[in-house]
């Protein structure tokens, strides 16, 4: 019972932050996802100590563990796009695969290079 109350209160806190972020974005026409602004606000509130991490853990971790549930109803809309993937699916392969390799090797290569050189300088 206490856990359920705690869960609901924490969920409400997350919802309030999201709701305010979405409102700010709509009012000021910012080209930014509401979730990202909310995330940045919550991160700042946690860093400044206004919100303690214990106030969120009960609701947040179960929610994040089942995050992929929320994508299912969105992905079901793909049933409307069957023809598109049948006709143009092969054209998607190259951009998706090449960009994936580019991301892996750019980030991996740069970070390995930069951390290796800082180690040679004696710093770490």
């Amino acid at each position: 019972m206490i856990t359920a109350l705690k869960f609901s209160a924490q969920l409400f806190l997350l919802w309030v932050i999201y709701f305010l972020s979405a409102w700010v974005i709509k009012t000021f026409h910012l080209p930014l996802p509401g979730g990202v602004l909310g995330m940045l606000i919550l991160f700042a509130l946690l860093l400044s100590g206004v919100i303690k991490e214990e106030w969120l853990t009960t609701a947040t971790f179960p929610l994040l563990r089942h995050l992929s549930f929320f994508f299912i109803p969105i992905a079901v809309e793909l049933m409307e796009w069957g023809d598109l993937f049948r006709q143009k699916g092969h054209l998607l392969f190259l951009p998706l695969v090449v960009s994936l390799l580019v991301a892996l090797l750019t980030t991996g290569g740069i970070v390995q290079l930069l951390t290796a050189s800082s180690r040679k300088d004696g710093g770490h």
Partner: protein
């Protein structure tokens, strides 16, 4: 025909398929059998063969995705718990993530454009390396379609989980920090879960990279994509 009974049925169907597919996934630990992939395929098949249209599924969708926004905000918590990682070597990490996020977006958008794909698809492909909840929002801002973006995000996450670690090893990228960040930038949550099996450092790095890639892409995509396509 839309009725409360139909809505209740579609919600129940989604929840049941999610529970079953999650059990299968936990049991098999196969990168190709994620709950999202299995349940979506199952639901589409069931709707198709029972003659239920997406229009009838839609009211249930609105109810089920209500908590997605608040859950996305919650992504700040794991990032906050891993904040010491950011402090340890801030600039190499930031430069690596920014370059990875920008280059993958550029290559994906330009290759999609020269392949002759329509603007809707090109815009939907842009956030394909971003964690799904934020990728969906970016897609809407840049003129893409959320459902198509989910397909690209899942394809990228799945392929990245399957080949990412081997590609890095093949290219002699052995540093655990570099490997974790590369997987987080490339394959978001799926890549993070995979590389976590290699070690705690890799997993924590990937989680941080996933969050920062989402934030960076959110800021650059709305400005950068019209310019790339212009």
């Amino acid at each position: 025909m839309n009725s409360p009974i139909m809505t209740a049925f579609t919600i129940l169907l989604t929840v049941v398929l999610y529970i079953i597919s999650r059990k299968i996934w936990i049991k098999t630990q196969n990168a190709l059998l994620t709950p999202l992939l299995l349940s979506t395929a199952g639901i589409i098949l069931i709707l198709h063969y029972s003659g239920i249209t997406f229009e009838q599924y839609k009211p249930g969708k609105q109810i089920m995705t209500f908590l997605l926004g608040p859950a996305t905000v919650g992504l700040a918590l794991p990032l906050y718990l891993n904040r010491h990682i950011l402090r340890s070597s801030f600039f190499p990490i930031l430069i690596g993530i920014v370059c990875g996020a920008v280059s993958t977006l550029t290559v994906a958008v330009l290759l999609a454009k020269v392949s002759g794909l329509e603007a809707l698809i090109v815009a939907s492909i842009a956030p394909k390396s971003v964690t799904t909840p934020i990728a969906i929002e970016i897609a809407q801002i840049v003129g893409g379609d959320p459902a198509i973006t989910v397909a690209f995000v899942v394809f990228t996450g799945t392929l990245g989980s399957m080949i990412g670690a081997s590609v890095l090893t093949l290219c002699k990228i052995t540093n655990p920090v570099a490997r974790g960040l590369a997987m987080g930038v490339t394959a978001h949550g799926q890549g993070t879960a995979t590389i976590l099996q290699e070690g705690q450092t890799q997993g924590a790095m990937a989680g941080v990279a996933m969050a920062l890639t989402a934030i960076i892409t959110s800021f650059i995509a709305p400005l950068f994509i019209p310019w790339l396509l212009g």
